[in-house]
Subunit: 343 residues, 2 copies
Amino acid sequence: MGVTIKDVARKAGVSISTVSKVIHDAPTISDATKKRVLEIMKELNYHPNIIARSFVSQSSYHIGLIMSLKKEDAFLNPYIYEIMGGIEEVARKNGYLLSIINTSTLSENPAELEKLIAQKRVDGLIIHLGGFDEKLTAVLNRADFPYVFIGRPNFATGASWVDINNAKAGEIATHHLVDQGCRCIAFIGDGVAIRHSICAARAEGYKNALQAMGYAVDERYIKDMKGTCENIPALLEELLGMDERPDGLVCSDNFIAFETLKYLQRKNIEVPGEMLLITFDNYPFAPYTMPPMSTVDIDVFELGVQSARAIINKLSNPGMTIQYSLLSPSLIIRESSARKITG
Amino acid sequence: MGVTIKDVARKAGVSISTVSKVIHDAPTISDATKKRVLEIMKELNYHPNIIARSFVSQSSYHIGLIMSLKKEDAFLNPYIYEIMGGIEEVARKNGYLLSIINTSTLSENPAELEKLIAQKRVDGLIIHLGGFDEKLTAVLNRADFPYVFIGRPNFATGASWVDINNAKAGEIATHHLVDQGCRCIAFIGDGVAIRHSICAARAEGYKNALQAMGYAVDERYIKDMKGTCENIPALLEELLGMDERPDGLVCSDNFIAFETLKYLQRKNIEVPGEMLLITFDNYPFAPYTMPPMSTVDIDVFELGVQSARAIINKLSNPGMTIQYSLLSPSLIIRESSARKITG
DNA sequence: GTCTATTAGGAAAACGTTTTCCTGAAATTA
DNA sequence: TAATTTCAGGAAAACGTTTTCCTAATAGAC
């Protein structure tokens, strides 16, 4: 067992209370004593035993991140990796460690969540809303356990959340295509009609942008692949067969964008010559498609930072009012949406 | 404070020692008492306080995973996500939680690692070798702290590691191209000459396969992009200008493969018509390239599982001899390496 | 010089387990 | 029946902090 507070106390000729007070910089200790004790601490290379401290405070100094680790989901949210980076940084700076909990474990066996919080293995939870089961929030609420969401929940909850401003992102994408000369812009999504879904918000932004710029919104130009990529070719065929053929496409996610690109190539429709394309999230392969794909990018690291701050705030101040925050996206223009100046 | 062992003891009319012994299924407790105590435990919804248990055992019941969370590295190792899934599953089943520690935090400030292990915030470490600093292992060794590697370290260490069999993967890729009719196969990598690098191992496999099938290995057909994608066109130009022009390319990573594909398209060289292409890791976008990319895939989930087992073994059996394990890859054939049967 | 207020630091309990050693009762043996 | 062994369970210490309450010494006020 390493160096303990007792060793420091003995060597410094003070009581352990005094050492503890020095650690916490209590005002009732004289500067001289403080200095001496601090020196001894350094000399002995003393680190307070976190586990003992946990024991007293009954907190683990761990923040849990509930996220899906299912193989199939691995690349649905490519940015979760960066989110983790943001969380880890803030957590560490506040003395917390980041622990990962698999969403599917919990959905399959909600008792695991009960155990997790009964045993206080984490002090608070950040819940990434991919595949998270609404029912589980009931468990958390019953135990009055602190948590925040990444992503805007589409169910009632008393918890704070942080999200990216997908409506704004949709606006930016659409606005950009109009800027590039498009006069008829279609939207292809997956879950357009699902309340508070990422796709719905992006579609909303698409509509808002069109209206704001004085274009009519025609619902026939809004398509939904309904969960399966295989529907995309048919949707595109419909769009290309319309009286006024679209000259710009907003794809609500990368997979749609890539499938669309493939289809257009097969049909010998040039991008960006005849059709401009834009999507979201700046997926790492976006620069490597042919042509490279324009995206509306999100600072997901910041998403992690904000969510970590939110939960840590909540821990130190349990009565805190709930907060929502929406982060702004930015535009990354690549060839797929850039009209050649020449020609 | 929730239900404690005292509450259970009182209600069951036994001492806390007895309850503790029931929890650990000690043989000196009669079946009748055991049964009664277990019932009371269930009735009161008692969960042993892990923090108190940690306090006694001075272990945190957390496994740390050191991995790079730097933005730039996020997609270098797309499969780390799945690795985490494997680790989490094994860890949880053994009563551990998975904690994430950012490699760059530690390299920037090695004292963080000292603190981490002095405070016993994790019981053991799994180190993902991307960007991990060799010097840090000295800290671990000095403290006799248990750790294992994911990936084969290219420096001396007393620790176990698990890795994917990259040499075997290189063999499989090369063998497959020969099977498909290639007679001159080139290899493009990044770090061919770096000892124990992933790329070097794959190149080794490439050579072995060629030799095993009776082909000569010509070093002129082995190219290295030396850290920057911009070198790729020049390398390809060299290859295409050779007396015997290659009809198959083994690309040691996805970025090389995608850049290569782009180049070949610009030069109007048909894939798979005139050139077969194969790469590794089954990056999620591999099916979405034009044409879809063949890859040699790795069960990285299993990599996580094995690394977690290794560290947990080590924890329960500190004297354990170090172990190395190499996981076998499997072939996923897509259009980029499939000679049309017709024509 | 006495009384009070202030200051610096100490003593000890508490947190919930695990674990070692002990004890009393029952069972076995002689 | 007496001595011994076995068995089931209990008492208490220990783990390293934090924190509350207390005390002795000093300073200040009159």
